[in-house]
């Protein structure tokens, strides 16, 4: 059985996705920015970005990303809407009487900043104060974050985005860290797992968002029972990783849970061969990695599968930061202190 990843096949898959997605993926239209990021992450993690995307193409992608920046009009009302949109279906920038018609979203902002960095941009056209102010507006009394104004959604996904944004910009003034930590601690379950709100089921995706947020804030010490959390994470491995107790293994958790394991100091405790074998089983003949064996790929499972594979096979791939979906070399070069492994107490 092959235990190598089909690198070229996956690189082609990400290239194709960057060029266009089929109409069946219309439900991703408001999150295109994240899928752009994921394709670039996948290529970077494979060590193929420069081979697949020319300097000119990278410049063009950078322009498209900046085209989604919502700058606001300087008023208090528009402040919470600033940052990067999830796609171009909103707006237009210069014509909205109703402010919510052209709204950024913390996930869009996080994905845009990561994508820009991967493309070699220096973020000089990013309106940093506006983004930091938007974060301040979006943090709730509970310490959690809403993704944008006007919704009751708030959960660790957006805490993570806020922390990642702050780490990349090197400006935490938009985040009340103590409040965010308090909220995350309230999401720690008796079984050691973590979830989206108190009393909900322990879930690998929220585990990642909680643990990575704490790592970026330098507060991994806040986990009530770190040993039990490490054990919960390691017990998600049945070949690949599952996201919850008694659910089937799914390739994306090789990142969500796999990265949490890295951050909790469990790198040496994983059965790396078993994770790798599962991910190879999830490879498709179209290129790209699917959620389960024998299914169709999508950019999320493809990118996170590649990064998860790289955690288990560190010698074969560029080292990716478990906190930021950026290469460690970039984290070091940009001196993103919060994402340094040394910051996480390793």
């Amino acid at each position: 059985m092959a235990t190598q990843l089909a690198v070229d096949s996956h690189a082609r898959y990400f290239r194709i996705c960057l060029s266009g997605l089929p109409h069946q993926m219309t439900s991703l239209d408001a999150a295109r920015m994240t899928f752009v990021q994921l394709c670039l992450v996948g290529l970077t993690a494979l060590g193929k970005l420069d081979e697949v995307c020319s300097a000119e193409e990278k410049k063009q992608m950078i322009e498209w990303i900046y085209g989604q920046q919502v700058l606001g009009d300087g008023t208090e009302l528009s402040a919470a809407y600033c940052g990067f949109r999830g796609g171009s279906l909103f707006g237009p920038h210069d014509l909205c009487d109703y402010v919510a018609a052209n709204s950024a979203n913390v996930a869009g902002t996080y994905s845009a900043l990561c994508a820009l960095l991967l493309l070699g941009d220096d973020l000089s056209r990013v309106d940093r104060p506006a983004i930091v102010e938007a974060l301040r507006c979006l943090q709730q009394d509970s310490g959690c974050f809403a993704p944008h104004p006007g919704t009751t959604e708030r959960d660790p996904r957006f805490i993570y985005c806020a922390c990642a944004i702050s780490a990349i910009l090197g400006d935490w003034s938009g985040v009340d860290k103590d409040a965010a930590v308090k909220y995350i601690v309230s999401c720690c379950n008796p079984d050691g797992g973590m979830t989206q709100a108190p009393f909900q089921e322990s879930h690998g995706g929220h585990l990642y968002c909680c643990v990575a947020s704490l790592a970026l804030m330098g507060r991994l010490d806040a986990i009530p029972d770190q040993q039990r959390t490490l054990k919960w994470a390691l017990q998600r491995q049945n070949c690949g990783y599952q996201g919850r107790v008694n659910k089937p293994a799914d390739s994306c958790y090789s990142f969500w849970v796999g990265a949490a394991v890295e951050l909790l100091g469990g790198h040496d405790l994983v059965d790396a061969a078993a994770v790798s074998a599962f991910l190879v089983q999830c490879e498709t003949r179209f290129g790209g990695i699917a959620k389960f064996p024998d299914e169709f790929p999508d950019p999320l499972h493809a990118a996170l599968g590649v990064v998860g594979f790289a955690f288990c096979n560190p010698d074969g791939f560029p080292r990716m930061s478990p906190t930021l979906l950026l290469p460690e070399s970039l984290v070091d070069r940009l001196d993103i202190k919060a994402a340094r492994r040394s910051n996480n107490g390793e």
């Binding site: 219309t26 408001a30 322009e63 909205c96 405790l269």
Partner: protein, 350 residues
């Protein structure tokens, strides 16, 4: 009613014309999407989606408050339920137009089959419920009376159907917690949990809900686990372990409960029951061949050792280390490196 796949039954001849040819929309100048010169990950929209979003952009940019904008928001959402601002606009239109909340809930139910794991849909539902039924209005009613309230009955029926179709839908269980917590209907929830666990003893979402109901939303600091309740929960978990010993849920549930709220009960009350099970000829082999049995012993002995003096600890820690060896070698080899690490940690703590 939740319809799972139903693309064509709402076919309406009047809406089969392009919007540009519909009289109703003749006063609106559609706004085409500006995707820049070199779009990244562009989606090959259907003509229908492209047109509806061109018109939607126009009315939303103007903040138009109208029935037609409201209906269009519904079509856009059904085509792309993750369009995050469409939901914001729709909620505003409902309030500005004074639309019927119950009807909106019915619409959400109708489209939910196509978007059953969409975050925005479930949050919209939660927000509608809060608008429809103020918890304060039920303050003086008993739980039995509250459960009969039409809005609550409707909600429980909806979410019950979703769980019938997918017993582990994360949003559905989360929504149940919202309804139970908002309206204080804890008793019916424990009954619901037991029904779900009876249907599938491996349903971890149901086991998680049991903890939620047990603690009735009190924080870890506030909730006091009495011996009586602990014994009842231990008994319940053991009964379910007997049905399927190689099932992580009941083990994880009972150990987590005791470890958080009454750690001494792990060895004072749970350990004797586990030992009984391991000695019971009907269950011994099935139970002691699971990783969960041995892992439970490690957790329990580790806790027990903390309560003993340094002199007394040795025997208990030896048991724990032997259990780690059994796990690494035989019962949980995929985590062999973890169990070796755990054994070392036990030694260092000594």
């Amino acid at each position: 009613m939740v319809r799972i796949v139903d693309n064509d039954s709402d076919y309406d001849e009047s809406s089969s014309l392009p919007m540009s040819q519909q009289e109703e929309w003749s006063d609106v100048v559609p706004i085409p999407q500006d995707d820049g010169k070199n779009p990244v990950c562009p989606i090959s929209y259907t003509d229908e989606y492209r047109e509806m979003t061109d018109y939607f952009r126009a009315v939303m940019a103007a903040g138009e408050v109208s029935q037609r904008a409201f209906e269009l928001s519904g079509r856009v959402i059904d085509a792309n339920a993750a369009h995050y601002t469409a939901w914001v606009y729709r909620k505003k239109l409902i309030l500005d137009l004074g639309l019927d909340i119950s009807e909106e809930l019915s619409w959400v139910s109708e489209i939910s089959g196509r978007h059953i794991k969409n975050y925005q849909l479930w949050h919209h539902r939660g927000a509608l419920l809060a608008l429809l039924l103020d918890p304060k209005s039920l303050e003086h009613e008993s739980q039995d009376q509250r459960v009969q309230n039409p809005a609550i009955r409707n909600e429980l029926q909806f979410v019950g159907e979703v769980i019938d179709n997918d017993s582990k839908n994360f949003h559905a269980w989360s929504h149940r917690q919202l309804v139970v917590r908002s309206y204080g209907i804890w008793d019916q929830e424990m009954a619901y949990v037991e029904t779900q666990i009876n249907q599938d003893v491996r349903n971890n979402s149901a086991w998680n809900q049991r903890y939620f109901v047990l603690t009735a939303n009190q924080s870890a600091d506030e909730f006091v686990l009495s011996e009586e309740v602990a014994d009842r929960e231990i008994g319940y978990a053991v009964e379910k372990i007997k049905l399927a010993p190689n099932n992580e849920s009941p083990w994880s549930y009972v150990i987590g409960l005791l470890a958080r709220h009454a750690p001494a009960m792990l060895y004072e009350r749970l350990l004797p029951k586990i030992n009984e099970l391991a000695a019971d000829k009907d269950y011994a082999i099935a139970v002691t061949s699971t990783p969960f049995y041995w892992s439970a012993l490690v957790d329990i002995y580790e806790e027990q050792a903390k309560a003993l003096s340094v002199d007394e600890r040795g025997g208990v820690e030896a048991f724990a280390e032997e259990a780690c060896d059994s796990l690494a070698e035989k019962y949980d080899p995929i985590r062999a490196k973890y169990w070796e690490y755990r054994k070392q940690a036990l030694r260092t703590a000594n």
